[in-house]
Symmetry: C4
Subunit: 214 residues, 4 copies
C-alpha cells in the first residue's frame, strides 16, 4: 500500500515530466507523438508516458506505472510505450538514475546518421560541463551510436553491451531514431537533453562549415 507521501511524490514527478515535455515540444524535439519520458518511483517501478500521446501537451493521466522490464503495472487499459524496456534497462543498470528522457530532434537524428563511426565525440565545448560530473571543456564526451532495431527488448541488451564499454556515458543515440539520456533527477536529465541538443546543433553547424561532414 502506497503512503500519501508517495502519491504526492508521484504527482510531482508527473508535473515535472509534463513540464519537460512542453519545453521539448516547443523546440520541435518530440514531433508527431514521438519521444517518451519516465521517472523512477522506487527500486523496481517507474512511471512512463503512455503510447501515442503528444509529449508536448501531457496531462496528469498520460502516464502509467511499469516494472523494470517495461511491463505495465495495473491500469491494463493503457499501453506503455514500445520503448519502455529501454527505460527499464537504464533504471536496472544505474541504481541512482531517477529519470530517463528520450527525444527525437532533427539535430540528434541527423548527427546519428552522419556520425558513421559508431560514436559522436564532443570536445572543446564549455556546455559539456552541463553533463553531470564533467568539470572542464577539455573533457572528451563519447556518445555511443547504436544501429536502430524494432525489437526493443533485444535492443536494450545491445545497448547494455555498448554501455559496458562506456561506463561514463551520459547518453546514447539510436541511428536515425533519436537520443536517450538520464539523470539522478528529472531536472538533471532535462539539463542533459538541452545540453546535448545544443552540442549536436553546434557540431552539425561546424561540420557543415568545414565541408567534411560526410
Amino acid at each position: 500500500m502506497r503512503d500519501e507521501g508517495a502519491s504526492e511524490r508521484e504527482a510531482g514527478l508527473r508535473a515535472e515530466l509534463a513540464a519537460a515535455g512542453r519545453a521539448f515540444g516547443a523546440r520541435g524535439w518530440v514531433p508527431a507523438t514521438s519521444g517518451n519520458l519516465s521517472a523512477r518511483l522506487g527500486p523496481d517501478v517507474a512511471i512512463i508516458t503512455a503510447s501515442g500521446r503528444d509529449k508536448g501537451a501531457l496531462g496528469e493521466g498520460d502516464f502509467l506505472a511499469i516494472d523494470l522490464d517495461g511491463a505495465p503495472l495495473g491500469a491494463p487499459e493503457e499501453r506503455a510505450s514500445a520503448e519502455a524496456p529501454l527505460h527499464g534497462a537504464l533504471y536496472r543498470r544505474f541504481a541512482d538514475v531517477r529519470a530517463v528522457l528520450h527525444v527525437h530532434s532533427p539535430a540528434a537524428t541527423t548527427i546519428s546518421l552522419v556520425a558513421g563511426s559508431g560514436e559522436v565525440t564532443l570536445r572543446g565545448y564549455e556546455m559539456q560541463k552541463a553533463l553531470a560530473g564533467v568539470t572542464t571543456h577539455e573533457h572528451a564526451e563519447v556518445i555511443p551510436v547504436l544501429p536502430n532495431e524494432q525489437d526493443t527488448v533485444r535492443l536494450s541488451t545491445l545497448v547494455g553491451e555498448r554501455l559496458d564499454h562506456h561506463p561514463d556515458a551520459h547518453a546514447y543515440l539510436l541511428a536515425g531514431h533519436g537520443l536517450y539520456t538520464w539523470g539522478w533527477s528529472v531536472a538533471e536529465a532535462r539539463r542533459h537533453v538541452e545540453a546535448l541538443e545544443f552540442l549536436f546543433d553546434c557540431e552539425l553547424r561546424r561540420l557543415a562549415l568545414r565541408g567534411d561532414g560526410r
Copy 2:
C-alpha cells in the same frame, strides 16, 4: 436536415482544424495566409478553410462546406480555397480519409525543388513509424513530387494518376509549392504533417552535410 449530433461533430472538427492551424502557424508552416485544412463531414461533403485567412489564427467562422468537386455548399458569400478540388479528389479516392492538410513549409518546399527525380524517398528513420501502418524504419516511404500547376482541377487529375502508381503513399509534394497529406482523423493527418516536416528537415540537413544535394 442535419441533426444535433452532426453539428456538434462539425464544431469539434472546426476546433481540431483550428488547433492544428495554430500549431502549424507557430512553426512557420502556413505563412502569408497559405495552406488549407479540411475535414470530411459525410460521404459527399467536407469543411475547408475559407480563402485568404491566416491559417495560424482560425476562428469558428473561417470554414465553409464543400462538395467533393470542391464547390461551396450554401454560404455563397464565402470563397473556398482555389485548392478545394485537390482536397475533394482525395476524399473521393480514399473512402476512409477524414482529414486533408496542406502546408507550405520551407523544408517541404525546398526538398520538392531539389528532389529532381520526381519523388522523395525516405528510409532509415524511426519517425517513418508515425505514418499510418508503417511498422519499421526499414520501410521505404516514397513521396511523389508533381510539377506545380495553376489549374487545380487539372492538377487533381494528374495527382490521381500518380497516386494510382503509389497506392500506399501517405502524402505528395507539389514542386515549389508544398505538402499534401491525409489521415482517418484530424489527429492522424496532423501527425503525418509533423512527421513529414521532421523527415524533410533531417533529409535536407543530411544532404547539405554530404554535399551532394544538387
Copy 3:
C-alpha cells in the same frame, strides 16, 4: 480638426501595426529595436514607429505622425525613425499604398549580401502568389538590391530611381540591411513580409544545397 472616425481609424492602424510587430518579433525579424512600421493616415500624413522602440512589443504610444518627407508632425518630444524618409517616399510614389513595413531578418540580410548582381529573382514558387496581383508560380519576381547608405534622404532618391525601372516590384532590399515592402493595407504588407521571408529562406536553402551560392 480630425473627426472621430479618423481617430478610430488611427487606433485601428496602431493596433494592426503593433500586432504585425509582435508576430515579426516572435520570428526574430526585428531584433535589437531594428525595423520600422508605418501606415498612411491620409494623402500627406502617416504614422510610424518611434525611434528606439522594441518593435516586438509596441504599445499605443510608440507611434508618431509624419509628413511624406518623414518629418514629425506635432509631438516634438518623439523622434521618428531615421528611415522615415524611405517610408514617405513610398507613400508619395504609390498613391494607393497604405502601409510600409521594414524588417531585418537573417534571411533577407544574408540574401542581400550573397545576391551580388543587384537583384534577387524568384521563380517557380507557389508562394509568389501571396504578392498582390501575382497569379502564377511561373511569374519572375525581381527584387532590386540597393547598396546601403546612411543618408536616408539621398537613399530614398536612389530607391526611387531603381523603382522607376521596376514598376511592378513589391519590395526592395538594402544590402546588409534588410527588406522594405508595402501594400494597400497593413494586412497585405504583412502578407508580403511573410511571403518574402519564406521565399528568401527557401532560396538560401536551395543555394546552399546546390553549392553555388557564392
Copy 4:
C-alpha cells in the same frame, strides 16, 4: 544601510534581468542552465544570477549580490556563478557599465570555433548600428575571441589584457563557450546580445554559402 529608493531600483533591475533571461531562453540562448546575467547596484557591488538556475525562468530570488571580485556579499547559502569574476572585471574596467550579459547560443559558440584567427570582424551590416556609438555599417566591429579556460580569475586577467588592445570592443567571445557583452543599462546590454546574435547568424550563413568557412 540601503535606502528605499535603492531597494526599488534593485527590484527593477532584477525584473529587467529576468525579462531578458526569458527572451533569451525562448530563443535557445541559455540552454541547460547556462549563461549568467548581472547588473551594477553601485560602485563596488552588483547582482548576478545564482548558480544552476534556468536563466529562461528567473524569479526574484534567483539573484545574489557580489563584490567586483565576484565574491558573494551576505546570503552565504547562495552560490554565485563561477563566472562572477568575469562580470566583476568588466564593472571594474568600465566605470559606466551597468549590466553584463553572458549567453551560450549555437551561433556565438559556432562562430567562436570557426573564427580561428583570434577575432571575428563584422563589416557591412546595418545592424552594427545597434552597438552603442556605432553610426554606420561601414564601421568594422572587431570581437576578440579568447581561448576558453576553467580558472575564471585567471581568465578575467587574460580578458583584460585583450581588451587593452580593443578599447572600443562591445563584446568578446570565449572559444567553444559563448558571448560576453555589456552596456550602460540592461536594455542596452540586451540590445547588444540581440544584435550580435543576429550578426553571428548572418555571418555563419554567409560563410556556409561562400564555402570558405573552414
